[in-house]
């Protein structure tokens, strides 16, 4: 799939000041790429999720820069960032916050937890108990926290970047599929190229590049971008294509569990953001195709036969993408 940006459609005038919005997005991207070198696709998906108001799951083996990516994202945008290290003994209240009794005023006072931030970095989310995991995931879905009957709204933009080690590693509670479904996209960072790794030795050995990362955008800029993403046009052909794609995962014999309707919404929303990042005012099938694997694969369960043949959901999805006809426009 081409991720080339040279041949963008010209589009028509963006509402507001699109050039400014795009410039902001480009600045954020550049800033993150100074930290995560040689992984433009990963950075692009991360930004796509940010502007599509989704949550990102980064799954990979330890030490390839999962946390670094999340941190860089938080640093590049000048907004509140909270980091939660998930451990087996972490409690739900440690995330959402607790109401404590104020001795002087004789009333309960809500102490907000770390989830009250623009970007929440949930590190090694699959090390916590399912109960704690679900507390965070509820916040993600509702964008609000309910403690002791009181509802506290979360600030926009709100994005959870969770990292997890592959499910078969020691001391992990794999995320149930219902909770994986709430993440808009899952990416893995992967090993750097040999050259990038060489560069890394040179730069990172002295000091962390994160220290040099300055905020290049404000939270308000991100909100503007999010609003802009909502105006991106999705033609009926694209909508049908997305539905076709989702249906194909449900009928594929290689999958035990297909994608949910929420996945459809996520896919279209992500495609809008993706198109916006390319400076286009409308979604094209290539956006859907580029996002199909990151947005869909983590929600799917392979059938036993596919498992025996070592066909991962990623491969199944890319097979479907490679063969599913794009609806004819007429």
């Amino acid at each position: 799939m081409s991720l080339d940006t040279r041949y963008n459609g010209h589009g028509d005038g963006l509402p507001g000041n699109p050039d400014g919005v795009l410039a902001t997005a480009a600045r954020i991207r550049q800033a993150i790429e100074t930290v995560i070198e040689g992984k433009p696709d990963v950075v692009r998906i991360a930004l796509t999720v940010l502007f599509a108001e989704g949550h990102l799951l980064i799954e990979d083996i330890p030490g390839v820069g999962k946390t670094m990516l999340a941190k860089a994202l938080g640093r590049a945008v000048n907004c509140s960032v909270q980091r939660i290290q998930f451990t087996p003994d972490l409690l739900p209240a440690d995330i959402t916050g607790v109401s404590v009794y104020h001795q002087e005023r004789h009333e309960f006072e809500f102490n907000p937890g770390p989830v009250f931030a623009n970007i929440v970095l949930g590190d090694e989310i699959n090390r916590a108990s399912p109960k704690t995991q679900s507390a965070l995931l509820e916040c993600m879905e509702e964008t609000q926290v309910s403690v002791d009957g009181a509802t506290h709204s979360l600030e926009r933009p709100f994005m959870v970047v969770a990292t997890q080690n592959p499910a078969d590693m020691e001391g992990t509670y794999p995320l149930p599929e219902a909770q994986r479904d709430r993440f808009m996209a899952r990416i893995s960072v992967g090993y750097p190229t040999p050259q990038a790794e060489l560069d890394m030795i040179d730069t990172h050995s002295s000091r962390s590049p994160l220290d040099d990362l300055r905020a290049v955008a404000e939270a308000a800029d991100v909100r503007t971008m999010v609003d802009h993403v909502r105006t991106i046009h999705v033609a009926s052909g694209i909508r049908r294509y997305a539905v076709d794609l989702i249906s194909a995962t449900r009928t594929s014999s290689a999958l035990r569990l297909g994608a949910s309707p929420r996945a459809t919404l996520h896919l279209v929303r992500a495609a809008r953001a993706y198109a916006a990042l390319e400076g286009r005012s409308y979604v094209v099938p290539d956006d859907i195709q580029a996002l199909a694997v990151p947005v869909l694969a983590h929600r799917l369960l392979p059938s036993p036969e596919a498992q025996m043949e070592r066909r991962t959901p990623e491969r199944v999805v890319s097979d479907i993408v490679a063969h599913l006809p794009i609806p004819s426009p007429r």
Binding site: S2, Y7, D319, L324, P325, I326, R330
Partner: protein
Amino acid sequence: MIAKISLTLASMAAVLLAMPVLAPLISGDGWWWTGLICVVVVALTGIGVRAVRITVVLVPLVQALTAVCALTAMFAPEQAVAGIIPTPSSLDTLLSTFADGQAEIDREPSPISPSAGVTLFIATCLGLVAIVADFLAVTARASALVILPLTALLIVPLVVEDQGVDWAAFAFVAVGYVLLLAVDGWTRNAEWGTRVGAGHDTVSPVLGGLRHVLTSAGVAAVAIALALLLPLAVPGLSSNSLYAMADGSRLDEETMTTTHPLVSLRRDLTSTSDRPVLEYRTSMPRPDYLRMYVLDTFDGENWTMSSLRADSDNLIGGGPLPAPPGQTDPTGDRVMTRVTLAEDTAFDFLPVPYPPSDVTIDGEWFADPESLMVFSTREQEGLEYEVDSYRPAPDAPSLRRDIPPSADLDRRYLAVPEEVDSRVEGLTRSIVSEAETPYESAMALQNWFTADGRFDYDLRPPPIPQGEDPLAYFLFDSRIGYCEQFAAAMTLMARQAGIPARVAIGYTSGTRGGDGTWQVSGSDAHAWPELYFEGQGWLRFEPTPASSDGQGSASVPSYADPASGDGAETSDASPTPAESPEDSAPAEEGVSAAESEPSEEPSEEPSKGPAASGSDDENASGGLSDSPRWWTAALAGAAVLLLAAVPALARSLVRRFRWATAAQGAARAHAAWSELCDDTADLGLVWNTAKSPRAVAHRLGSEVPHSAREALWRIAMAEESARYAPRPEVPKSLDADCRTVRAALRAAQGPGVRLRAALLPASVLRIPWSGERRPARPKTA
């Protein structure tokens, strides 16, 4: 495992369903069960052996072993251990029974009676076919190739039976094959899953599998239907019955297809069966031979028939037949013969006494003016017809005159190929040295053959040693043969003596029944020479020994009978009364069956060569008709050119129509995109429908030079924008861009591809309503 079992059973069913094609060749039904058991045993063995998972290569071996066990149990249980385990002696029994069957099949005309040997032979062949089919379908997973063993079965009736394969039997074979492919499609679907379909026409897995099955079966069915129908549309290939072994000769006005006369007839000539062929009533007390074919061309090995013309000029009906050639004043008695064919007999050449003057028969029949053969373009059963003929009664004085054959007579009747052994020529010279007239030469030749003790009549002549000329071997070494050898040798020698001659094939007069009818049976099939005498026409001679030591019902015509003195008018003097036909056969016992191999056939055995020599075709086609022919050819050429240009023309019309109807904006973008799709389809560059416009442009971009790449991108971007943007932006230059890209794409291909794209643009042949391009992999990706 289920898949393998289903495939095994399906291939078994395919072989079983092919069995009816053999039914017309065998008279009883005793062979059905043994064949069926053999095939079923092979299939069950296949299932069992595959269940224990041994090397697949061994499967056919084990199947062959169990098949032999099954055959042992059926044919030689006494010598076998426990009635089933083969022992050396049981194998000996099997082998000798098999050899008997083989010999019997070789000897007898179809339908043959299912003796033990024949049954064993058929069961063995079916078992072999089943093993091969099983190997192809299950082990090799190439079910389509199972048509090969099935065809091997189909060929048998085609070669043996002139009327080809019964359509019902063929339908069974087709059904079996389609069934096998359907099962194959089903198993493949079960193994690989259905093709990913678009969501809006999602089907359940069961339906998907059904669709898979229907697709594979449908393709096979359509292919079979096409294979059957297409030849009917092509002149020269059509045939009366399903692919009779046809020699389709392209003739002047109409295509005449003749079954090769000798493939089946040779069996009849050596036949000892008294299966009735026909019966007739005649006004003559001693009727003459009934002639069917005339073989006029000798190529050194085989006698063949020149091609015949079946056109309206020589259609029978509404008048007498042409006068017999060379006969100046037809003399002799008029003979009326009424012939009725036996029930299961079918002819495309009518047995008639020579020379016929009129034939009364229903249907379309033709008479060859030169040979007076009466024939049709297809075999017909249940015929009844009446023939008026003359009884040739040449008068002695005119026979004795020495008149050279007229110049009208075709030279081919005197042709002697160079390959003939030179000793034959010397022999002929010595025989005819004392003869002064052609008639005397002919008599000398006939007498030489029929002289006591010189030749032995045997329906199974000894095999010819490798490399020997069969004719010379017959004349000088073995001197054993039957009517074919005698007739052919005398014909050739007569030609060497300067007498125009040809071989006639048909039936002798047969035997007289009690009620005044004459019965002609298979053993009465006969061959004899016809010699030409100017003024008398063609007269038959009889070099084959008659009576019980020879061809039982043969008779020497009065004019050629040395015993009848001057041989002229005493026409009913000589024919040897026919004895019972059974006597005509040499003793059967004691002759090893394996001796009569096809390769041992004497020189006259013509089954190897097609009967088309076509040497006389030019006679009719020259001359007056020259100029109209020229015009016809020119017109036909123009029509062909025009036809060839139709696809290119259609492509160009489509292009014009597209641009003409695309007014503005999005429509123009779609038009440009469709043009691009069609141009690439014409050039054989295809992509699957899962590719977006920009992905397509990206891929095609690698095929074209830089200059065209921009144009390509403009087209793709315009299409993308027209499809998906709220307000499409379409550049003005799209038609120019299309031309640029087309030229660049064409330039990147080889000349062959370019020519095909111009002459046979694939896009024109695409079904417009299918809505998707061929889902093939991109060729150049």
